[in-house]
């Protein structure tokens, strides 16, 4: 059983994640945007963060990821990033050129498949601190 924070601007994604994760006894908190998510994380001290790319507000999801990594208390929490097919490539985020790589530990495409989500969550919860992708690693995606 773990504490998991879900951040997405879409109600249905939050509800689906909650339902799936609660069925395994996890404790879930939700936030509707990056700013609220960051605040919630400081209070809730989650063991894992599930973060949406959040296309609607452009780079909100990316921004949140960097914010977590820059906070001493939060930087070692594994992050699972939710995306929709073809989404990353469309954003004006040039991974190659800027040498910036997303500091997240795994990507997962929607729709959410319970078994996959649960397996990924288990794997990420077991991740050792030294294996957390704090800097952003080249071939993560």
């Amino acid at each position: 059983m773990a504490k998991i924070l879900c951040i997405d601007d879409e109600l249905d994604v939050l509800e689906s994640c909650s339902t799936i994760l609660k069925s395994k006894g996890h404790i879930i908190k939700c936030a509707g945007n990056g700013t609220d998510g960051y605040k919630e994380a400081l209070n809730f001290k989650p063991d894992l963060i599930i973060l949406d790319v959040m296309m609607d507000s452009h780079t909100d999801g990316f921004h949140a990821a960097y914010q977590f990594r820059n906070n001493e208390k939060l930087k070692n929490i594994p992050i699972l990033m939710l995306t929709s097919i073809n989404q990353i490539s469309k954003l004006k985020f040039n991974k190659e050129k800027d040498g910036q790589f997303l500091p997240v530990d795994e990507f997962m495409e929607k729709p959410i498949v319970p078994q996959k989500l649960l397996a990924e969550v288990d794997r990420l919860l077991g991740l050792k601190e030294e294996n957390i992708n704090r800097e952003g690693v080249k071939n993560v995606y």
């Binding site: 507000s57 469309k90 498949v113 319970p114």
Partner: protein, 376 residues
């Protein structure tokens, strides 16, 4: 003004003509105010088909001046060569002797842009080159327009794809939960996923209908039937659709329209316009709020004012209102659904009637839309 230098190739076996054309165009500058461009040429020359074949492999040319009769072939052969080998935009001017009309017609078919008939002087050269240069810039501009159109279309479709994918993903996620029996064996446990899925489907249907409305207005092929419409009647029908939602929030919709107010317009357009504005005025209103709708005729103008006592719109969000798929996201709007097309539809209709639309708003106090349509 932008200074631009274009490569121009003169192909003629007569030394004198090559030198003459070069002298005339070498320091010639043409000013095109409409294109904000000062244009000049870098001149190359060739004495035969063989020579020119070599040069076009090394340089890109925008303009050619070609003598029809060459020692090792003719101008049409050269045009065919260009057709085959060259990808950039170019214009060719052909020099021909008097009375070669059939040849000239043929050259036009092969892509010659213009002709100069021998004997000619500097003025003939300059005016032919002027015409070609102007046309060249026009072609370039059209290409840019086309590229812009493609880009806008691409962006539209990308956003649309995203808008369609979200509900499908949401519904599929819920179905996965049900399929996996994650909330137990009883169907009653799944009310929430079912209700949410149905909501998402309804929203998607609304999006599709909005899209159809949007393209209906944009396409000119549909017959646009203009008839006499009673605005009161339109309002009545509209109220029937939005009264239930208004009742839920205890919102009063008042309207002031002369019962005899008749306008000449397209019925479905006016319905869409009124529906979208009333829909917003109700959706973005507060409990116990009001909506006031007034319409009046002033000369050839139909003026409509819609005032609501709702959540209002912040100043810096105003310019986004009429963009396709644009919705304002904040605490007040997060539970209100919509496709973000309503006001783009309204704007398109207003444009059809050479009208105007203006917004005044105060956050937390309410919003006023002023619409003026030209009704002939």
């Amino acid at each position: 003004m932008r200074e631009r230098v274009f490569n121009l190739l003169v192909i003629d076996d007569e030394n004198g003509i090559r030198a003459g054309i070069t002298r005339v165009l070498e320091n010639h500058r043409i000013k095109f105010i409409d294109f904000d461009t000062i244009l000049s040429f870098k001149i190359y020359s060739a004495a035969s088909l063989g020579d020119s074949e070599k040069i076009i492999l090394q340089e890109n040319f925008s303009f050619y001046i070609i003598d029809y009769l060459l020692p090792d072939g003719n101008g049409i052969q050269f045009l065919n060569l260009l057709n085959e080998r060259v990808n950039n935009t170019y214009l060719a001017i052909m020099i021909s002797a008097h009375g070669e009309l059939p040849l000239v017609v043929n050259a036009a078919k092969c892509g010659a842009f213009d002709f100069i008939v021998k004997p000619f002087g500097p003025n003939e050269i300059r005016s032919a080159v002027y015409k070609a240069a102007e046309y060249f810039l026009l072609l370039e501009r059209n290409k840019e327009f086309e590229a812009d159109k493609k880009r806008i279309r691409y962006e539209f479709i990308s956003i649309l794809a995203h808008e369609l994918k979200s509900p499908i993903n949401a519904i599929e996620s819920y179905l996965n939960i049900m399929e996996g029996h994650l909330q137990g064996e009883l169907i009653n446990n799944y009310q929430r996923p079912i209700v949410r899925s149905k909501t998402r489907i309804q929203e998607m249907r609304k999006l599709i209908n909005d899209l159809l409305d949007l393209t209906k207005i944009e396409s000119n092929c549909r017959e646009r039937n203009i008839e006499e419409i009673n605005l009161c009647e339109v309002m009545h029908n509209c109220l029937e659709s939005y009264q239930p939602l208004a009742k839920q929030k205890n919102i009063r919709i008042n309207y002031q329209i002369d019962e005899k107010l008749l306008i000449n317009a397209n019925r479905s357009e006016i319905e869409m316009l009124v529906n979208n504005l009333i829909s917003n005025a109700v959706k973005y209103n507060k409990d116990n709020g009001t909506v006031d709708f007034t319409a009046s005729i002033q000369g050839k103008k139909l003026n409509i004012i819609i005032v609501d006592s709702g959540i209002g719109i912040a100043k810096d969000e105003k310019n986004k209102l009429f963009l396709e798929f644009s919705r304002i996201k904040n605490e007040n709007t997060k539970n209100i659904s919509g496709s973000g097309l309503g006001l783009s539809i309204v704007k398109k209709i207003v444009d059809q009637y050479h009208g105007s639309i203006e917004v005044e708003s105060e956050v937390d106090r309410g919003t006023k839309f002023f619409i003026s349509l030209t009704i002939v």
